[in-house]
């Protein structure tokens, strides 16, 4: 399944899948080795990718067995004792599960509502710009935040919003007055800050794929529409939007698989004693219990659970996309 995800290139995936079903009929009639022989160079090209997935994505899955064991490194993978679903039970019945699930889901929801549409909107706006110099420079400028690490983004946030010396925090305080607000520490401001950081950092980068899709729209369509008397708004509504809809759907499906990945680094760096209740998500939990406390089996179980939810979400959204008449991923 993982190999199917390859169309993560900046082109509508539709083309790739459209070509695939063609040689289907002849396949059964010719033995496999002839096929291989005939397309040997293609198969050779496939080989490195296949090896990569096997070695780095499938073989390590053997390690997942420790989710069902009481893993002690000294005894090794095979020497550790099997315990069945003990760790999963512990997770689902433990005091943290509800909070973790709630926080993770809420962040996922915020991602769907705010983070996912942002690049689409920005790309569409950029597409309407007619002065090329402005368009290009804006495009380049909004890519920049993507290249800053989360550590830097977090430090910047602290510098700007710290209650002691934060430039923006002081500015807001000057405008509003009253009691000073500690934006970076308070639980109420945790989620807004996380969303704002994500928007700032990833929106520009996310536009690339949509801009590429928009560049691929046949200009004859626009010409024809103009001849028929369609205005700017009509063109947008009947040509631009339908043209990038498949890309948006594919991106939505791909994103849905990562919804529970709440961005470990970002959240870890923004967690304080005061906002931990809303900041704890599966990713940070796995890190704390696995790396910091060495409960490897339990951490693996939590990670596996998260992975399973991701798979369900991918298949679910794929199903939904097909139901809504769009082309799915697979």
């Amino acid at each position: 399944m993982a190999t199917d995800l390859v169309p993560e290139v900046d082109r509508p995936a539709a083309k790739v899948s459209r070509r695939a079903p063609a040689p289907k009929r002849r396949r059964r009639t010719r033995p496999l080795w002839q096929d291989v022989l005939r397309y040997r160079w293609l198969y050779l090209l496939l080989l490195p990718g296949l090896v990569y997935f096997l070695v780095f994505k499938y073989l390590p899955m053997y390690g997942l067995t420790i989710a069902f064991k009481d893993y002690v490194p000294f005894l090794g993978y095979s020497g550790s004792e099997w315990v069945g679903l003990k760790h999963f039970e512990e997770l689902f019945t433990g005091p943290d599960f509800g909070r973790l699930m709630g926080n993770t889901m809420l962040l996922a929801l915020l991602t769907i509502v705010f983070i996912f549409p942002a690049p689409v909107v920005v790309a569409l706006l950029l597409n309407e710009l007619r002065v090329n110099v402005v368009k290009r420079s804006v495009q380049s400028l909004i890519y920049i935040p993507h290249f800053l690490s989360w550590t830097i983004v977090a430090s910047l946030t602290y510098l700007l919003f710290s209650v002691d010396f934060g430039v923006i925090a002081n500015w807001i305080h000057g405008l509003v007055g009253g009691q000073k607000t500690d934006y970076v520490a308070q639980a109420d401001w945790f989620r807004p800050l996380i969303v704002a950081q994500l928007l700032w950092k990833q929106t520009g980068w996310g536009t690339i794929i949509y801009l590429a899709a928009l560049a691929g729209v046949d200009s004859q369509l626009y010409e024809a529409a103009r001849v028929d008397g369609a205005g700017r708004w009509r063109q947008f509504w009947h040509i631009t939007l339908p043209s990038i809809a498949p890309t948006v759907v594919i991106m939505a499906i791909l994103t849905s698989g990562n919804l529970l990945d709440s961005g470990f680094e970002q959240i870890w760096l923004m967690t304080t004693s005061l906002n931990r209740d809303v900041a704890d998500v599966f990713d940070t939990f796995v890190y704390s219990i696995g790396i910091t406390q060495g409960a490897f089996s339990y951490a693996t179980a939590v990670g596996l659970f998260k992975g399973l939810v991701g798979v369900v979400l991918i298949f679910g959204s794929n199903f939904l996309a097909k139901r809504l008449g769009q082309r799915g991923l697979f």
Partner: protein, 512 residues
């Protein structure tokens, strides 16, 4: 899915497996080599050159090749957990002896139980009964403790601010508060603006009872250090009325603005900044911070830098004094069973370590190479030739790295003490000992320091953050005292009841 017919898949898989088999070689780690010692230790700067002068000198002394994996201190905990999860343990590992992954590994037999085995090595034999006890885990010695002074807590105060406002050094908690109030409200820096605060507290990385300023202040009010006896039973320090009194008191500080407003988020690595920049006037931490700050002031203005003073632990309002001691060590050196397999091999490794901790070894690890980077003046080491880049490399290797391999050196056992660079630092250093000996008389030790409750390990993720987080929320005003009490009850309900039971049983069994 049809392009993935089983047969094709099989072919591709076999090809791939062939390729994998082709590139993996057999590199299984063998046991400990007789002429080599591998060690993992924390690093505080750039890693030493393995062929460097100091390393060669150390190797010559122990008669073995030394291979040290230096790990930056900030990520040492994570890295040691990952190492514990791998099959590549070093012979000797500097490690926290109560970390849950270490204890699990040790109990599974990954490390030697050194209980009673150290006495025949003169330089490894524990010098202090209390510290030896503290460094045990439920009655077992899993490593050689790296000694540190037994009491290091103190208050660093801006001396010039005290003088300007005509205040004297505080001796009681009430006087401390008066100083903090004056520092906040009476414009100690004389710029005409109310832009200073009394006390600087950073975002604390550790949990409850981890030598944070909160823990120290609570102890002054009579809160047990970690665990304490109440009605014949050991209870956690936060389940006492003194804990609440202390935090009620500190909460007023926060609401009156006597503490830096960003105390929930200030990075502990930047703790010195507000002090040196003249924003805050006091820090409650280890005494060596006083010399650190002195050096920073000196860097800023070499002519006028004597702006720091140090005060020991404080008396409560009723005159009673409780001081916050430290554990007397910082991590232990444990010997891996995976690499060191037999008793003879263990004996050899311990002999090597014994050599490393001898007088000669301690000097190498703590001072460096005599005649190269320091000379001896009476009982003190005097740095020399510090401008020569080669000498600088030796000094760097000592200060940032090799000193971490010493188990006795940092309290001056074996090695020379450093001659302070100036009069102010000398006076400050002298004060350390005076204050320590004075405060040790009233030190409140943790009776459960040497034990580790299994439930505390198993549920640490849930339990560890409850009380420190609740304390922070209470101090910042986000929750009320009743809510704080509810959180303490939540700790008990989430497994704390078992932890308390186990701690009581274990202490009764191994005698703390």
């Amino acid at each position: 899915m049809t392009i993935f017919s089983p047969r094709r898949l099989a072919l591709a898989t076999s090809l791939a497996l062939l390729a994998v088999a082709g590139c993996s070689g057999g590199d299984d780690t063998k046991g400990q080599a007789a002429d080599e010692l591998t060690v993992m230790a924390p690093l505080f700067g750039t890693a030493p050159d393995p062929g460097g002068e100091l390393q060669q000198a150390v190797e010559k002394l122990i008669g073995k090749k030394l291979k040290v994996t230096w790990v930056p201190n900030a990520e040492y905990g994570d890295k040691s957990n990952v190492t514990l999860a791998s099959d590549k343990l070093p012979d000797v590992m500097v490690v926290g002896e109560k970390g849950s992954s270490f204890v699990k590994a040790a109990e599974a037999g990954a490390f030697w139980d050194l209980t009673g085995k150290l006495d025949k090595y003169p330089n490894l034999k524990p010098a202090n009964e209390q510290t030896a006890k503290n460094s045990m885990t439920n009655g077992k010695t899993y490593g050689i403790y790296r000694v540190r002074p037994l009491l290091r807590s103190g208050i660093v105060i801006r001396k010039d601010w005290l003088a300007k406002l005509g205040l004297k050094e505080p001796q009681t908690v009430d006087e401390l508060r008066a100083v903090a109030k004056a520092f906040t409200e009476q414009d100690p820096d004389g710029n005409g603006k109310k832009d200073t605060y009394g006390l600087i507290i950073p975002k604390w990385p550790g949990g409850y009872g981890s030598a944070s300023p909160y823990d120290v202040i609570e102890t002054w009010f009579g809160t047990p250090n970690g665990w304490g006896e109440r009605d014949g039973k050991l209870v956690p320090g936060f389940d006492t009325p003194e804990f609440l009194t202390a935090n009620r008191w500190l909460r007023e500080w926060v609401s009156e603005g006597l503490v830096n407003p960003d105390f929930a988020t200030l990075d502990s690595g930047n703790w010195n900044n507000p002090f040196v920049q003249g924003k805050g006037g006091m820090i409650i931490d280890v005494n060596v911070r006083a010399t650190q700050l002195l050096d920073l002031f000196k860097e800023k203005n070499p002519k006028d830098f004597d702006k720091v003073t140090l005060v020991g632990n404080l008396k409560r309002s009723d005159g009673e004094k409780f001081s916050y001691p430290f554990t007397g060590y910082n991590m232990v050196m444990a010997v891996s069973k995976q690499r060191v397999r037999t008793e003879e091999q263990l004996d050899q490794v311990l002999q090597t370590l014994d050599k490393l901790q001898s007088k000669e070894g301690s000097v190498l690890l703590t001072n460096g190479i005599e005649g190269r980077n320091f000379t001896v003046d009476g009982q003190l080491a005097v740095p020399v030739n510090q401008d020569d880049p080669k000498i600088k490399a030796i000094q760097n290797d000592v200060d940032k790295a090799f000193i971490q391999l010493g188990t006795r050196a940092s309290v001056g056992l074996g090695a020379y003490k450093l001659r302070p660079a100036d009069e102010a630092s000398r006076k400050m250093r002298d004060k350390f000992d005076v204050l320590m000996n004075e405060d040790l008389k009233t030190a409140v030790f943790n009776p459960a320091q040497g034990v580790l409750a299994p439930t505390a390990t198993a549920k640490s993720q849930t339990l560890d953050t409850i009380v420190p987080d609740a304390r922070m929320k209470y101090l910042s005003g986000a929750i009320t005292e009743d809510q704080l009490k509810a959180q303490i009850k939540r700790w008990y309900d989430a497994g704390g009841t078992q932890v308390a039971q186990e701690v009581n049983d274990l202490v009764a069994k191994v005698g703390g």
